[in-house]
């Protein structure tokens, strides 16, 4: 269809040049050309030229002007597909994909067979996962250009993504038959064949898939994929002999692939533990340097056999001094018998190494050469880690101290000591040890990051940032750089630290930043839609699409989202007062002496705030400069990335609709992390506050389906029943809603009353599980607040020595904050004292004064030690040199 507003030949030529300039990214020239056309008085209003001028301006990063001109152009020529297409491209570059799709559709109204617009449309459809629409567009392209490769591939893929494997395979089959000559080592052809094979496997036509693979084996370049797929198919098709040969070859190729061994066992059809171990023995002999055949039998072996293989494995590791040896066998600890075996073995090593330098008495008696001196250190480290895992803090510390006395310069030891304190509930002491470790090797990024993380656990955000700054780019604040680098573990830990410090706004800021990273990763797939089709890496492409579909399932997202939801719930329960009201209330209610204190506090706070805001301003200026320089630097790559709203903590924490914001974070979890019970328990908390009974019910049902015995499910039911009866009194339900509720509550609790239910629950779990008892007591108070004392007594009366630290902290904070059982300061204080004895390292149960005194004493000791060290400078220097040399080799090992 011709343009509705044609240009004469001279201007027409200029317009074509303008298009070319845009394409070549010669935006400045393009602007000149547009000006030339528009300077002709007859064409000052020419729509398509104005639109192109806008698009060119967008290329220069002048977004607002771009919109102005493109819109103006469109208004002047609403019947031009060029104008609509340009508007679509502009919207797309602004990531407004829905709008862009509408524009393309309008463009296609005026030019329904325009290839380019159709292609652009299909890209957006796949990005937005409008799969039906994608299929439609792809079919259109296919009918228009059946001679192009891409038409076939895209067409087939649209069916594959919709799960119609048969049709997808038919298309690819027809396509490959129509191909006459195939060059040797044609990678793209090879990938296409493998993609077709994947489709056959996914549609469970295994025999067909195998035949296909055998037929085209010679044309496929990716030999490894062929072998692996073929081996798997042989197993599934019960042709075990052939599979055995394939997996033998694969293991020879790479003896460290766990999957190969598993498949090999399937192919050999061995299933008895001792038989499997015997097979691994063969591999050990065959590949003496491989780790897999040594480590894997540990998962399988039982009883005496386990003792034998574990003994070999541990000795080898300790002799060589493999730092992550414990981490490597940690999963075995889930089996308490295996954990006991490992404990007794390593205890025996420790005893004999101290006595004679051998791992066992037998070795000593047989007169074998002694083990290396370092074996003792690694054994002590292993034992410390083992007891730490068992939460036996005292013994863990005992062994780690032995190790540190032996080799004070080994970084692993200090890290482990820190970790022991962390698990024992003292993040500050933990950080001190990590900081020490960090100072011993400031060029090691791993220990640097670990140290930062421990600092964040101790709520030291600024210090953590400073430590990280050693590795971030110079000239930019570390915080900004880490955000830019999408360093999510750091940001999430920051968010959680701020949450602990009740700096809600800053916590939310970090959570939102993490959320934005995920959005960005989803945005980033856009480029792959064209790239992968061109390169024909279709297997990887489909894998990418599937990954992006469930991206927010990632634990990183879960952690940040949980933090955000918790903070928003808190802000709903206890909204922040505006600054002015806080002051008024305080002044009215305070005695003069307190007032004085408050005043000075306020002054300090104000000073601090001023200082901070000044710093923030400086940082802002810096950031802007940085932004600018960045923009000019990579104008070519992405000049028009949309600017997101800046996240301002003060605004975030004073939102008017905290629950809606919480739901924004919750939705992806409900969709993608539905296998985690926490998702539904969080959902319940949100909907409980929104008073949406049906949604509370939904959350409870989902949680129950996952784990009906989970303690929180119980108290959720009780709270739901209470909310139900209150709501019923207030207003009659809609009859349909009533019907649904009646049926569901009947399923939920039968004919029992909530009171009965709660009593039974308590009776059942009374002496066995503190978490259940806690939720039961909660229900008790919820149903009848006059039973407060009894409820508190229930939980504080639970035997402390059966308690884990996390549970004790949960109960103590609930009592202290008074938001579960109402005010109960005295009980909280008593409980704290009791816990102090049970968990002597846990900081939360200790007194502030005691801690401060401790800190002072420590600093004094440090000072003294430094002075002493200076005195003995020469001697110590020599010693450390020797020892560090000793472990130097192993440290290199880690750094690799």
């Amino acid at each position: 269809m011709p343009s509705s507003d044609p240009l004469p030949p001279k201007e027409g030529a200029l317009f074509r040049k303008l298009l070319k300039c845009y394409e070549m990214k010669q935006y400045k020239n393009g602007l000149k050309l547009a000006k030339q056309i528009l300077s002709n008085p007859k064409y000052t209003e020419h729509g398509e030229t104005l639109a192109m001028k806008g698009l060119t301006l967008n290329g220069l990063g002048r977004r607002e002007e771009a919109y102005k001109y493109v819109r103006l152009g469109l208004r002047n020529d609403l019947r031009s597909h060029v104008c609509w297409h340009v508007y679509g491209l502009l919207q797309r570059s602004d990531k407004k994909y829905d709008e862009a799709i509408k524009c393309y559709r309008n463009a296609l109204k005026w030019e329904k067979d325009n290839l380019q617009i159709l292609k652009d449309l299909s890209l957006l459809q796949i990005q937005m996962r409008d799969l039906e629409g994608y299929k439609e567009t792809r079919h259109h392209l296919f009918t228009l250009r059946p001679s192009q490769h891409a038409s076939w591939i895209g067409f087939a893929m649209s069916y594959h993504l919709l799960g119609d494997h048969v049709m997808a395979n038919n298309i690819l089959e027809t396509f490959s038959q129509s191909q006459t000559s195939i060059e040797a080592h044609d990678y793209r052809h090879s990938e296409l064949l493998l993609y077709q094979n994947q489709i056959l496997i996914e549609s469970a036509y295994l025999q067909q898939a195998l035949d296909h693979l055998l037929k085209y084996e010679t044309q496929i370049v990716d030999k490894l994929a062929v072998r692996e797929t073929m081996g798997d198919l042989y197993i599934k098709l019960q042709q075990h002999d052939k599979a055995v040969a394939i997996y033998e070859a694969l293991i020879r190729r790479n003896p460290e692939n766990v999957l190969y061994y598993e498949q090999y066992m399937l192919a050999r059809q061995v299933s008895a533990p001792s038989d499997i171990v015997a097979v691994y023995r063969e591999f050990q002999a065959q590949y003496p340097r491989a780790l897999c055949p040594r480590r894997l039998p540990l998962n399988i072996a039982q009883g005496a056999e386990f003792t034998t293989v574990a003994d070999e494995y541990l000795r080898r590791g300790l002799r060589k001094g493999i730092p992550p040896l414990f981490v490597n066998v940690r999963t075995l600890h889930q089996d308490s018998q295996k954990a006991a075996t490992i404990e007794s073995l390593t205890l025996q090593y420790f005893e004999n190494l101290t006595r004679s330098g051998h791992f066992s008495r037998e070795d000593a008696d047989a007169g074998l050469p002694v083990e290396p001196a370092s074996a003792l250190v690694w054994t002590a480290l292993f034992l410390a880690q083992h007891y730490d895992y068992m939460r036996d803090t005292n013994r863990a510390l005992e062994y780690i101290n032995v190790a540190i006395d032996h080799t004070p310069t080994l970084i692993e030891l200090l890290i482990t000591k820190g970790r022991i304190f962390k698990h024992a509930g003292d993040p500050v002491e933990a950080y001190v040890w990590l900081d020490e470790a960090q100072s011993m090797d400031t060029a090691d990024r791993y220990i640097n990051s670990k140290c930062a993380k421990y600092m964040l656990r101790a709520n030291m955000v600024t210090e953590a940032e400073e430590i990280c700054a050693k590795f971030t780019r110079e000239g930019v604040s570390a915080m900004d750089n880490l955000n830019e680098m999408q360093c999510m573990w750091f940001q999430t830990e920051c968010a959680i630290a701020f949450q602990r410090m009740e700096r809600w706004g800053e916590s939310l800021k970090k959570c939102h930043e993490v959320d934005r990273h995920f959005s960005e990763i989803i945005e980033d797939q856009f480029d792959f839609h064209t790239y992968c089709m061109r390169k024909m890496t279709l297997r990887a492409y489909v894998g990418l699409l599937r990954l992006e579909d469930v991206l927010r399932k990632h634990p990183f997202y879960f952690k940040a989202a949980r933090c955000a939801i918790e903070v928003y719930i808190h802000l709903y329960d206890k909204p922040l007062k505006s600054e002015a009201t806080i002051e008024e209330i305080d002044i009215e209610n305070l005695p003069p002496s307190e007032l004085k204190k408050l005043r000075s506090k306020q002054r300090k706070a104000k000073k601090k705030a001023e200082l901070e805001s000044a710093q923030a301003q400086q940082a802002q200026v810096k950031r802007e400069q940085h932004q600018k320089s960045k923009q000019t630097a990579n104008q070519e790559t992405d000049p028009d990335a949309p600017q997101l709203d800046e996240l301002i903590p003060e605004k975030l924490e004073r939102t008017d609709e905290p629950l809606e914001k919480a739901i924004d974070f919750l939705k992806p979890l409900q969709q993608l992390a539905k296998e985690r019970i926490e998702t539904h328990l969080l959902a319940f908390e949100v909907y409980y506050r929104k008073n949406k009974l049906l949604l509370m019910l939904q959350s409870i049902q989902r949680a129950r389906a996952l784990d009906a015995t989970h303690p929180v499910v119980h108290s959720s039911i009780i709270r739901f029943m209470k909310a139900l009866s209150i709501a019923r009194k207030q207003q009659a339900f809609n009859e349909h809603v009533q019907q649904v509720l009646d049926k569901a509550t009947k399923e939920l609790i039968g004919s029992k009353t909530p009171q009965q239910l709660n009593d039974e629950f308590i009776a059942k779990h009374h002496a066995t599980s503190i978490l259940h008892l806690y939720e039961g007591a909660r229900g008790m108070y919820e149903l009848d607040p006059s039973k407060k004392q009894a409820a508190i007594k229930f939980i504080t009366g639970f035997k402390l020595d059966k308690l884990r630290l996390e549970d004790a902290i949960k109960i103590y904070t609930a009592l202290r904050d008074g938001d579960v059982f109402g005010e109960c300061e005295q009980e909280a204080e008593n409980y704290k004292l009791a816990c102090q004895e049970r968990f002597q390292y846990a900081r939360i149960f200790r007194n502030v004064e005691e801690l401060e005194a401790q800190l002072l004493a420590k600093e004094a000791a440090k000072l003294r030690a430094e002075q002493e060290q200076q005195m003995n400078h020469l001697d110590t220097n020599e010693i450390t040199f020797n020892t560090s040399n000793n472990v130097g080799v192993k440290l290199n090992w880690i750094n690799c």
Partner: protein
Amino acid sequence: MAEAEHEVEVNGTEAEDDAQEEDIKQKKQTRHDGGAADLERVTDYAEEKEISAANISSAVEQFGNQRSKENELRVAKEKELQKVQVKKEDIELIMNELLVTKAQAEKVLREQSGNVVAALEAIISN
């Protein structure tokens, strides 16, 4: 004529991505001197050589038929759904109680033949 040419050019030029998409080698050659229209023609030519015309026409027809069949099915299904009588107040009830969008509420309600209770339960137990 000038106009027709103009159209082709537009298609080609804005398709800068597409131009890259076709072939790396050509892209290298044409990055500095070529227009996208030329490039598109070149790639078309190369590909046509590989696919024989006889196979294509039958295939195109076959897949076209397959697709129109699918479309018929889908349209029939949609028609079926559209036939269901739904009440506006029911949709609003579902939206309000379960915080879903109007489109979702309407879809589920239609699928449950307009039965509100069934629709509510369907969403809850989903």
